[in-house]
Amino acid sequence: MKRPKSIIDKLLPLGTFAVIIVIWQMLSVTEVVPAFMLPSPVKVVKAFVNDFPVLMEHAGYTLLESAIGMSVSIVIAFFAAVIMDRFILVKKAFYPLLVVTQTVPAIAIAPLLVLWFGFGLSPKIILIVIVCFFPVAVGFLDGFASADPDEIKLLRSMGAGNMQIFRHIKLPYSLPHFFAGLKVSSSYCIVSAVISEWLGGTNGLGVYMTRVRKSYAFDKMFAVIILVSALSLLLMALISLLEKKLMPYKKEERK
């Protein structure tokens, strides 16, 4: 009984998606919306296929920036969370500041970063870190705090030191929260990279986007937008896969 239902659950959103595409195609073909403003899905796919090598080259740069940015975010977030968890005063001093950094809009600081750090990789990576660091750090912090004090006491009674308690209790407890934060970050990550590429640079999907926008190639515009979404989805799927690998006990719980 369970199986058919899960198939229906999966088909339903796909169906909705297909209907939207069909309506979109009809709108373009019947010219309800002028074709130069809203290219038909078929044209978008054609643009995607024609420009595929160029798109991939730019995507490579964007992915590189994202990968470096994400890794740096995770490392900084981890150590920041460990320190804040260990020293409550540090947490009190810096946590509100972290929240404030989250209210600064990425689009607003991106131009500043370009002015300060030039057109290379660094301003892009810095923007990604500013955007992605916070959800991951909060994930770790909440995770550390979610550890059961009785379990910590139990390990103390076994003679465990702080390192062992961290290794056996705090770290595993933080994993689900960490992944929740990481998923949020990953959805921001590619977009942040693209935004910072808009403002300057020679490679990347943002650069490509700016070029095709200036030449009013709306079909290419849509192609690159879809590619950006696809990359974000891919990144999230990758994180889900990693999550399942690292937390096999989660799967058992669902049974």
Binding site: D148, L154, L155, S157, M158, G159, Q164, P172, Y249, E252
Partner: protein
């Protein structure tokens, strides 16, 4: 008989509230001692002191003559919550005390695995705690306690979270293995029946901060059905 674990003149107060003063508890080898009292009387505080997690204001705790006051790592205790770590397999959970003490993972897992049959856990080594029944989880927690502290075991409301039938079964089972493994046990409980069934000696913790002691020697196998059991129960209820 030798006192394997003994607490002498224990006093503890939190802020101005005196939990107990000048308290003595003795556990002889192979015996089971029950601390019986209502919740909030300081049973768990006493357990924390016995296990060395908490330091008393006065008094000393000795294990086999060695002073272990305020020194954790010698004896462990098991709680009502089994505290099995959900992200480790049952085997890894049970071996954890050895791993913490610095034994190699392989060695620790092998040693812990050797007891699974005896504790009725064979075949569940690689399961996660979630997949076990309440009784089995409690047995796994007990095995971990045994592996951690050897023959002296502290149990804090060990079977309190189980349903009545499983609890009876677990108590019977515990009587069996504690005899076979020659365990010396301190058990905290607010369940009079449990204290009388498990213990050779019952300390009753009442509001008076003094301990009343009942010694139970040579209990018949179906002790909980005898008149003496009912009589003792009445006596204890009147203390509390």
């Amino acid at each position: 008989m030798n006192n394997i674990l003994s607490a002498k003149g224990i006093a503890k107060a939190f802020d101005d509230k005196v939990i107990f003063r000048d308290l003595d508890v003795d556990l002889s080898e192979g015996q089971t001692v029950a601390l019986l009292g209502p919740s909030g009387i300081g049973k768990t505080t006493l357990m924390n002191i016995l296990s060395g997690v908490m330091t008393p204001d006065e008094g000393r705790v000795t294990l086999c003559g060695e002073d272990i006051t305020g020194k954790p790592g010698h004896i462990s205790y098991m709680q009502q919550k089994d505290l099995l770590l959900p992200y480790y397999t049952v085997l890894y959970n049970v071996a954890l005390p050895l791993i913490i003490k610095g034994e190699s993972k392989k060695e620790a897992l092998k040693k812990a695995g050797g007891y699974f049959e005896f504790f009725g856990l064979a075949g569940y080594e690689d399961k996660y705690p979630k997949e076990l029944s309440g009784g089995m989880r409690q047995r796994a927690a007990l095995l971990r306690t045994y592996i951690q502290s050897g023959k002296v075991v502290l149990l804090d409301e060990p079977f309190g979270a189980l349903d009545a039938v499983t609890r009876r079964k677990m108590q019977k089972w515990y009587l069996g293995i504690s005899k076979e493994l020659e365990l010396s046990t301190v058990v905290i409980t607010h369940d009079t029946d449990e204290a009388l069934i498990l213990a050779d000696r019952v300390y009753i913790m009442g509001e008076g901060k003094e301990l009343d002691v009942i010694d139970l020697k040579d209990k018949p196998s179906n002790f909980e059905l005898t008149e003496e059991f009912i009589k003792l129960k009445k006596q204890i209820v009147s203390y509390l």
